[in-house]
Structures are given as C-alpha cells and as structure tokens.
Assembly symmetry: C2
Homo-oligomer: 430 residues x 2
Amino acid sequence: MSQVNVGLCGLGTVGTGVVKLLQNHAEEIKHKVGSEINIKKILVHDIDKKRDVSIDREWLTNDPEELVNNPEVDIIIEVMGGIEDTNVLLEKAISNKKHIVTANKDLMAVHGQKLLRLAKENQCDILYDASVAGGIPIIRSLTEGLASDRIQKIMGIVNGTTNYILTKMTDDELAFEPVLKEAQELGFAEADPTSDVDGLDAARKMTLLANLAFKMEIGLDDVEVSGIRTISQEDITFATSLGYTIKLIGIASIHNGKAEVTVEPTLLPKDHPLALVKNEFNAVYVYGEAVGETMFYGPGAGSMPTATAVVSDLMDVVKNTRLGITGNEYVTPQYEKQLKENDEKYMQYFIRMEVDDTAGTFQKITNVFTDENVSFAKILQLPSDKEKMAEIVMVTHKISKQQLLNSRENLKDLDVVNRIISYYRVDGED
Amino acid sequence: MSQVNVGLCGLGTVGTGVVKLLQNHAEEIKHKVGSEINIKKILVHDIDKKRDVSIDREWLTNDPEELVNNPEVDIIIEVMGGIEDTNVLLEKAISNKKHIVTANKDLMAVHGQKLLRLAKENQCDILYDASVAGGIPIIRSLTEGLASDRIQKIMGIVNGTTNYILTKMTDDELAFEPVLKEAQELGFAEADPTSDVDGLDAARKMTLLANLAFKMEIGLDDVEVSGIRTISQEDITFATSLGYTIKLIGIASIHNGKAEVTVEPTLLPKDHPLALVKNEFNAVYVYGEAVGETMFYGPGAGSMPTATAVVSDLMDVVKNTRLGITGNEYVTPQYEKQLKENDEKYMQYFIRMEVDDTAGTFQKITNVFTDENVSFAKILQLPSDKEKMAEIVMVTHKISKQQLLNSRENLKDLDVVNRIISYYRVDGED
C-alpha cells in the first residue's frame, strides 16, 4: 500500500477537525483511496500550546520551510488563513511540486486564478471546495454534476454569521446590535465582525462561484456589496407583512454573455427555498438552463463540516496522484469578462419612505415613478410615528437599476418626501 | 481535437433531452472535456416516428448490435429503461469495452453491483448519477464531496409523483384518487402508477444510495416498502394539527455496523427541510458524522434535468478516457451486509385508532403501552363521526419496532379498541 505525506498549515478549528477526521476515519479513507495518508508536519505559531487533539510533538514546527521545502511532504493542507504571506507560501509549495488543498476563500478570491495557473504549469492539484459553504460540496457540483448545463443564476446564503443574525432579528424581533453581541458570545460571529456583516466574506465566495459558473475571470472589485448593519426591525416588519423574508443574498447572474455579481440584503418570498434556510446554515440555489432549479443546503462553517470538505478534497488529490492526472483543475476562462451596465440589471425593488401625510402626496410620488416607467407589484401605506407623516412602502415590478436610481434622485427632490428610509432588492419571484 | 462517438439507446423524453443538450451546448462541452462528442447511432423502436429534435436519419436503427457491436461507438448512453433485456445488452457492450452512462435505476438496483464489477474487469466506466433524483448530483456528492465522512443516515424524497400527490392532498385537502387522476393528466404520474405510489421506485433509488453510503451490498429485498394509497385526508388533518407533514420518505440508516433501509409514509416536523419540499421536486437529506446535516434539492425527473445528469456523467467518461483512468467506479464493499433486527430499529410512531367513548378506555389503552415500556410525546383525542366512538392519536417517543408490533397486537385484543385506523413512522425530530 502506497503512502502519502501531508503538511498541515494551521491547527485551529478546521486544522484540528482535519487531524481528527484523518485519525478517526483512517480505515475508510485508506479503503477508498488505496493509500495511507500520514501527517508529516504541522505549521503552528505556538508549539507548546495545549491542543484538543492527539498529535505527535515531532509533527509541530513554526518554520514553514519544513513543510513547503520538505521533500517528504506531498500535499499541503492550508487552513491557517491570511492572504499575502500565505500566497507566497503556497506559490513556493507549488513550485516544489506540492499539491494544495485549501479552505481559504480570501486567498482564492484574490489570488485563485494565478495559483490555479501556476498549479497547472507544475502539474499540481489545487482544490478548494472547503472555501465556499464549508460542508456543502458546491464547487464540485458546479464543476462536475452540473458541468453539462449552462448556469444562468446562482443565489447563495454563503455567510453563516449574517444569516444567524437575520434569523434572530426576524424570529425574535430583536435589533441588530444585541443580536450581533449574542452571536459573538456564542461564537457565531468574530470579535471584529466587519468582513461578515458588511458582506465582504460573502462577496469573496460569490466571486469564486461566478468564475466557475460563467467561465470568465470576475474579480472581487466587480462585485457590488452591501451588508446588513442598516436593516432595522421596521424593515423586517414591513417585509414580513408583504410576504417576504430578508436575507443577505449573493447573486451571480448572466444574460447575453454579460454577468452581474452582487451581495446585498434581499427580500425573498417567504416560501422560497432560500427563505427557509435558518440560523448559521448556508445554502446555494443554482438555476441552470437545462436542470432548472436546484439547491444545496448544509453547514457553512464549523470545525468538522469544513474538515470534511478539506479531507474529501485531499482524497481526490490522492486519487489523482495515483492516477497520474493532477493539475487539471484550471480551465482557461472561455469568455472575456463582460459586466452588465445599470440599464441591463433588471430586478424588483422594495422602497420605503417617510412622506407628508397630506392630500396629493401619493400622486406626486406616483408621477415620479410613472415618468421613469416604473410600475408596482405591491403598495402599503401606514401612519408614521411622527406627526403629520406617513410611511409608504412600494415593491416595484422588474425595472432596471438605472430606472431605480433615476426615480430615487427625483424622489429626493420632492418636497412631500421627507426621506427615503431604505430600499432593498426583491428576488426569487420569477 | 479528439473525437468521441456515442451510441444512444432510447429516444424518449430523456433521450431527446440528451440530444438537445449535446447539440445546444456543443461548444461549452468541447471546451470543458477537450473532445468533440458525436452521436453515432440511436436505438429506437420506430424509425419513422416524428421526433421533437433535429436528428440525422442515418443515426437511427432498431438493431442493438449496431450500437453494442459497433467498433466506432465508444460510449453507450442507456435511457430506454427495462431490466433483463437491457442488462444483456449492456453486458455485451461492456465486454466490447464500451463505457456506459445510464439513467436506469431499475436496472442498477437489480444488476448494478454485477455490472459495476464487469465494467471494472473491462476497465470501463459505468456512471449512473441520473438514475437517482435526476437533476440532483447526489451520487457524486456521496462518492466524492462527502467521501471523507461517515454517512449515518439518508432521508430522501426520491419520487416526484408521490410527492406531487401528497402536496396536493395536503395543500388542497383532496383525496388520493382524484389527485392521482389529475397527476396522470398532467404527466406527473404514469398510466400504471403502481411502481411510484406503492414505493417501489423510491426503494430502488434508496438501494443505490444505501450501497454507496454504507459500503455494503444491500439488495432491493432488504428494503421494507409501503406506499401512499392508504393515506387518508383525516390522517393528513391529524398530522397537520400535531405539527407534522406527511411525506413518502426513503430512510437508510446505520448504527453499530447494522443497516436499515425503508420507504414509507413518514410524518416530519413541518419545519424540517424535507417537509418544505413540494410538488414534483426531490430532495435528499444526508446526515454525516462529521459534516452534520446537508440537503440536496432539485428536480427529480423530467427531460432536461435528467439529461443534464446524463451528459455530466458522459463528460466525466470522456475526461476519464482521455486521462486513461476508466473503470474506477466499483469499490469492493468494505463491510459484510448486516441488517437491524426489529428490536434494533428505533423510531417514533404515530398511531391513530377508533375507540369506545367510555370511561376507562384511555386507561386500558395506556396500560397496554406501559406494559411495553412505551411513552408518548403527543396525545390527541377527538370525538369520532360514529356514535359512542372517539378517535385517539398518539405519537410515541422513540421506541423499537418490536415494541410497536407488540403494542399493536395487544391493542387489537382490547375490547375498547374498535380498530387501529393507521400508523406511521415519525422522523426528523432528533
């Protein structure tokens, strides 16, 4: 029986899970891949730290060279995070003909295409299914299971922290701040929650999915991102009363060869499959021309789910090595990048505003929209808490983003409109 | 650019979809696999029949030998159905070193292990992801994405016809027969609906999934099957009022190395991910030791979804051929088949009975259960339509099947129990 040696970079939550899985499932894994997988070296900051897993002290090192320059190491598992330094490390490892398995979406979103090309040149594998939606084999499904189809749209709840927060805000009618605090205490949110709550984490994952689905090089800068900090309990109440659930949704779509990738709070019909995904769970909804709608649901993070994805990728690398077919992940992008302009981005919008509660107000507002050819699916007017004010919520039919922006500008100029309180994308009704 | 020639057996709904997909997506497919895929021959009954797809008349034949003995054909796509004759045909094709892609779960459930072994001997691929839950890449997910995990339980809605019927019965409060008739008119049910409504179709698919998940050879005879004919509107009403949805669920579970595979109407908590899967959609819920809960959702049948799975498998075969690694699907079962006995099958049950509406009835009934050590999660008693009768519905805590069977026998002997109207498995609460 052949042997494969692994160098593990990082022994945090995921790294510990990987070690446990390799130890506890050693027999099954050997049976499936026909090789024994050994841990050779583990890169850690602090060699003396107490660990929640049984390891050989000999494995531990804080010198990365002992992994990436070690002729005995065949495969590097990178679960330590970080972007630039990690990139340098992995480039060196690949140049030394080591295969890579990584859970690092930050790195892959920024340097992925370059690393994949370098890996191909060196006939090395670089697999990263763990980097998007941990326990959900979504990258594999896009590249293999749905390979014969043309993907037209991907909608994803790909950040567990924000989904947890929005679920609590909706179900328990709580405000953002106290829920964030609770999430931090429970370990569902980081001490610095910026990259989660402002949508950057989701944007990175959507970049990776869009690249695979549309076969064009879409970068992080091409993604329009807004987070969930500004969502108020009133927004949620209005959305609910109109039959919607607010989720932070990453949307990648393509039409006539032009792509659009966004991450933003989005209202979904309350029986949409994604609206039903609660708490820290992730789900990716894929619309393919032939297959129609499919959805993949599961844990988006966590030690063991992410470790499962890492080890499944590792097993693939081992199989590919035995078969002599490594280095086949990178597929030259088939299409030149083309992005939709604002007048090509069609969607529905929810617009909520505070207006004068006087005769003629509604007419002035509808005139603005009529001038821009915008019509409505739903309208709701309620008295405001403020004297002589009312709140109006309107859900448009599908309009272009340009129509929305024009209408917004013109609404701001109206004396009867005190302020536009919020506006959100509405999706999932087509 | 290399060329690959395909022989297509069957040009019905799925076969037509395959031809359309190969024609419409020819460029993308070529880009992904690096080979051109040509249709060489199509096996049909009636050469002169009008077809809903553009084909070359030269392709059509009604002689299977022109496919399985044709040295120009590299890969056979089998989408014609049938078991014994089809098996003979595919055995011949494999002996002639042709790779197989099939959507035929009936065939695979009966002869799959034998065909997979034969294919391995001949270094041929035989891929069948289209055979279970058409548009959902579930076989791929089990064998690859979740490969590093230990699968403990699979729960599947793997038959679209019965899910459509149960959805209509639940949402529109209709009886089984008229809904079946409507489903037949809409094309969601066959003229002879037996294999769907009696659970056989689902059982075949669960056999394939159980084999893969538990790495033991579980046959169709090992599956306990019951269908949906006996589900009444009253059962649905009671289930709903207790917070459950009735679905036809295939369940494969393993505990201490012993497996159990069943297909039966099952009550799920109404917010369980599977309870929310409506109409003809399919979904497979997988519980893995490490990954926890994941779910795969999508169309279970239909021309284009199934064709997508077939062509994705076909693309894999082409890639494997180019890489010289065909014949690797069959993995020797790692474990001897061991099945749970009745006293090892633990689950909750819903029991509905008609009883005398007299003092002491309830006590006699609870005595029977107490003697068997059965306790209850929920109890509901309502007046019956019949005079001096009442209906009692009880949902047990987890008990063994043996405890259920013993209790049922003893209840039948009670003079106050007029009849046991129905009983169903309850699952998804753990």
